[in-house]
Symmetry: C2
Subunit: 216 residues, 2 copies
C-alpha cells in the first residue's frame, strides 16, 4: 500500500493519536490475527460475517464455500474487512475513562473473486503454509472438485486505517489522588497443546508446524 | 427472545447442523466475549466497527463517544452485530477439510439510542459490573458532562442465529488411512496478571473483581 493521505472514509474523526494509515502499522495487525469480520450489504441490509483472512503483499484474502451467500454477495461489491485484537481491559478511576487496549485494522474496497484455478490453489497453499509452514505439501492433494467448491476472495489494501490503544488508564488529573485501584487487566490468545485426532494412524507425532504454532 | 422459526435473513443456508436460533445457544456466546463487530451502511458503503457489547435480558447494548461517526450512523438504522470466538485450528488430512473451531452469533435489527439519562447510567453500570462486579460503586461518580458525551445503543435480540463448530476434523473416509498428523490446535483467551497503574496511590491492592476476572 502507498503512504498517501487517508481518504475521508477511513480517516479517524476522533483520537487521531490512535490512528495509522501505513503498511508498517496495518500489516502487523493483519498478520497477528487471522480472525476477521467481512461487512457487506445484501438487499439493503448490512451483514457481518466472521471468517479467516490472510495477507500476501498488499492484498488481503479470505475464502469459503462457493455456495456461501456471503461470498456470492461480495463478488465485485464494496466490502469492509476488519481485524480486532483485544489486548486488555483498562480500569480507570471513573467509569468514563474505562477503556480497552486493542489493535484494530479496517480496510475498505471492492472484493473480487480469484478466478484463475492455478492462482486459487497457490493462494490456498499460502493460507495454510502462512500459519503452518510446510503443511500443504504433506496433505492429500486438492481435487478439482474441491477447488471448484472453494471460493477465494481478495481486495487491495489501499484504503485502510489502524487504531491502537495501549498503556495505563488516562484519568482526569484530580482523580489520581483517589484511593481507587486502577490499571490494566491484560488478555491474550493462548495456544494450547495440540489434540490429536482419535482416528490418527498409530505412531504419528505432531509435525514441527503444529508444535511451533504461535498466534500474534 | 422467542423460540420461533428463524427468518430467512438469519437462517443458515449451509451446515444446518452448526446453526442455532434460540436464547440457550446465542446468549452464552454473547456473555462469553464482549468484543463484537457492528456492521452498518453509511452513504451506501458497509462499515464494520469493533467495539464491546453487553447483554441484559433479551437486548444487546454497546456504547461509545457521542461524537462517534458509527454511533450517529446507526441510530434508528439497520445494523448487524456479530460476536465470534476462535476456539481452535482444525488440521485435517486434506486442505479442503481444514477448518476452525469457533462459536459465533449474528444479530440483525434496528439500533436505537438509549435516550433516558437515568436508564443510560443504569446500563453503563451494568456494563462495568457485568464483568467487574461491584466496581461501579467504587468509582468517582459519573458527571453530567460525561454521561452526555457517552452514547449507549441497544437492539432487541429477536432476529439472530448462532453457528458453532467443535471437535476433530471431518475427513473423507478414505483419507483416514493416510499417514498425516491430524487434530486440533486449541486456542483461548487467557487473562494475565493485572498491571497496576504506576500512578496508583501507595498501598492499594487489586480488588476481588480484578483478581477474579475471567473471560468466557
Amino acid at each position: 500500500m502507498t503512504a498517501s493521505a487517508p481518504t475521508d472514509r477511513v480517516r479517524l474523526r476522533r483520537r487521531h493519536d490512535r490512528g495509522g494509515y501505513d503498511a508498517a502499522t496495518i500489516y502487523p495487525i493483519l498478520d497477528a490475527m487471522p480472525l476477521c469480520s467481512v461487512g457487506y450489504v445484501f438487499e439493503g441490509q448490512p451483514y457481518v460475517t466472521p471468517t479467516l483472512q490472510w495477507r500476501e503483499g498488499d492484498h488481503v484474502f479470505w475464502h469459503g464455500s462457493s455456495a456461501s451467500r456471503m461470498l456470492r454477495a461480495v463478488d465485485t461489491a464494496e466490502v469492509c474487512v476488519t481485524v480486532a485484537i483485544l489486548d486488555g481491559f483498562v480500569m480507570a478511576r471513573s467509569g468514563f475513562h474505562h477503556s480497552i487496549n486493542y489493535r484494530s485494522a479496517m480496510m475498505l474496497g471492492t472484493a473480487r473473486r480469484v478466478a484463475d484455478p492455478g492462482e486459487k490453489e497457490a493462494r490456498l497453499k499460502s493460507f495454510v503454509d502462512g500459519s503452518f509452514p510446510g503443511r500443504w505439501d504433506m496433505l492429500r492433494p486438492a481435487t478439482e472438485r474441491e477447488l471448484k467448491a472453494t471460493t477465494v476472495m481478495t481486495m487491495p489494501i489501499d484504503e485502510a486505517s489502524s487504531k491502537i490503544r495501549m498503556g495505563p488508564p488516562g484519568d482526569e488529573e484530580e482523580d489520581y489522588a483517589l484511593p481507587i485501584w486502577a490499571g490494566v487487566v491484560p488478555v491474550r490468545m493462548e495456544v494450547e497443546n495440540p489434540v490429536p485426532d482419535p482416528r490418527n494412524m498409530e505412531g504419528l507425532e505432531p509435525p514441527d508446524h503444529i508444535l511451533n504454532f504461535r498466534l500474534g
